[in-house]
Symmetry: C2
Subunit: 343 residues, 2 copies
């Protein structure tokens, strides 16, 4: 039986602040048998695309109170990916199938938990989109916008980290819904993309704003109905001052909060009371019954040319650490993907 | 026509921190004609009971972004009251009627806005309860608990400022709903009342707790489903650490936040994301369609002996400033009322 070398990205040990390239290590792992052992129910896959997602920072911390356990120091990093089945001991999959779901940051993975894996039906949509537009980030945008924000036509919507994997879809869905949409991002290039490619009504570079409150007042003269929050911190604090009565805040992420042990203070929560604001944290995994509707709607929008999706693809498994660390400095433009193999 | 002296409590000028007795002034106002002028649609009333409510602090600040405008310096303080109609130019009310609604802190008031006034039907419920149990605070507890928290039997409920005008009813409604209920208060006397008179399962004196997180863990080994927040600040921060997944926080007040310009920072909002928590500010005025249901339910519970209501009654209009300032140091035990006249 064929045995092959398996290149891997290893999680070195728990961190406190933001992930750095040096918190991960590229190495050649043990030789691996190219089979899914009989009776194991597992799949042997070749990983094609791996997903860099901000939530993974939480798994690098020694914190066990979250919805997903921390990584194990010295082990291969886990994450979403698009993979090709090489051998299958599961009746649901056969060699040659392309799947998306949880895999590991390595060339070949033996996947034991197969219930959440999804078979990808070949069409003209790029395979990597199944960890972005049609994967967890896209689904997060979809349920966050429609289910958590419950938008109405004409609503004034603000999206932070607006060119990111989630934000770019939120903004486009909001435009399709008839909303006025403003996004913030961290470079002028991203601001241009938001306005000229992604169809946002307005966008601004938060790094060039000394006063977030003043920046928001410039774009929302009558206040904000919906804030899709990907960052937390001082932007959230400024947004609270600019919400309309009965406004809604979907709290999707707090990527600006580098430290779990000393997060920044939010000072303007009294606005929740005086303006009857609802602020709701959510996890896409609570809405999985809507996944088929999501796929149907977003695939249709995409095929009709009503939405586009920006990706930032790093070539080669070795580029994983630098790509992942870059998420937290805003290096990526659009959804960050690692391309491991083309087929 | 009879003209009488009219004693009044005057709002002296805008404040920053908590109200002090000296921010208000007792004086004898202009002589007043004992009539509701023809064609004015107004009512002349004699005020019997006046309500001291924490939201009134907001009206003492020079801040115009709230749901209710600030008081006018030099003018009589406005608030909820129970009053007797002496003369009426409105077809809806006649002399002798007892009403509850917005009036002023004085002996006699000419009320021009009569739409929100409610006629009280005489029964064996104390008149003053119409600004407490059966008034705005009681209604706030009712809609906050049932509509905002949407409780289930068996839920673990925490109430801060639990012996106050709102909190004491929230806790009793939660017990009637089959919940486990813990309250916090600021004196050992209040803690005793919560446990022995109001039927809370547990209660603690927050002033004797060095570590709110540890205190909450003592009473909620498996976490909190519902937090009815009357105080904000560091208690809210500790609660966020102890919420269960999909928990709900009804933000009713932030009485601990003395300063609007420098409110305390809340550091643990990342829990909203990792636990899918909903945090909702609300105003009772958004739910007025439920007022008849509220009255029916709460009057029934009261008459059945299933709930009680604690009041702290100060005698005489002159006692208004001291009674109101006392709300913010926790001097009051139960709903703070000023008794101006018995009939």
């Amino acid at each position: 039986m064929a045995e092959v070398e398996n290149k891997q990205i290893i999680f070195k040990g728990y961190i406190e602040g933001n992930p750095r390239e040096t918190d991960m290590e590229f190495k050649v792992g043990k030789k691996m048998k190219m089979e899914a052992p009989k009776g194991s129910g597992s799949l042997l896959v070749k990983n094609l695309y791996l997903s860099c997602d901000p939530y993974m920072r939480g798994r690098m911390r020694n914190f066990h109170g979250s919805y997903i356990p921390p990584f194990v120091p010295g082990s291969v990093i886990e994450g979403f990916g698009v993979s090709k089945v090489l051998d299958s001991d599961s009746p649901k999959f056969k060699p040659g199938d392309i799947i998306s779901g949880f895999t590991c940051w390595e060339e070949y993975t033996l996947i034991h938990k197969t219930d959440q894996l999804r078979k990808i039906v070949a069409d003209d949509i790029p395979l990597s989109y199944h960890i972005g537009l049609l994967g967890m980030p896209g689904f997060t945008a979809y349920v966050g916008f429609y289910e958590v924000c419950k938008p109405k036509k004409g609503d004034c919507v603000f999206v932070s980290a607006a060119s990111g994997a989630v934000g770019q879809l939120v903004g486009q869905l909001a435009k399709l819904h008839g909303c006025y949409v403003v996004g913030s991002a961290g470079t002028n290039q991203k601001v241009e993309l938001l306005k000229n490619k992604l169809g946002f009504d307005e966008a601004f570079n938060y790094k060039e704003e000394a006063d977030f409150d003043a920046a928001l007042k410039r774009y929302f003269t009558n206040g904000i109905d919906i804030y899709f929050d990907n960052v937390g911190g001082s932007m959230l604090d400024a947004v609270l001052l600019n919400m309309k009565n009965h406004g809604k805040i979907a709290v999707c992420g707090m990527v600006s909060q580098q430290s779990l042990s000393q997060p920044q203070g939010i000072h303007n929560l009294f606005n929740l009371v005086i303006k009857s604001i609802t602020m709701k944290g959510f996890l896409q995994s609570d809405y999985l019954h809507l996944f088929p509707n999501f796929l149907e709607d977003v695939v249709r929008f995409y095929k009709q040319g009503k939405i586009i999706y920006l990706e930032d693809v790093n070539e080669g498994l070795e580029s994983g650490p630098v790509a992942f660390a870059g998420l937290f400095s805003g290096r990526n433009v659009g959804k960050q993907v690692i391309s491991v193999a083309r087929d």
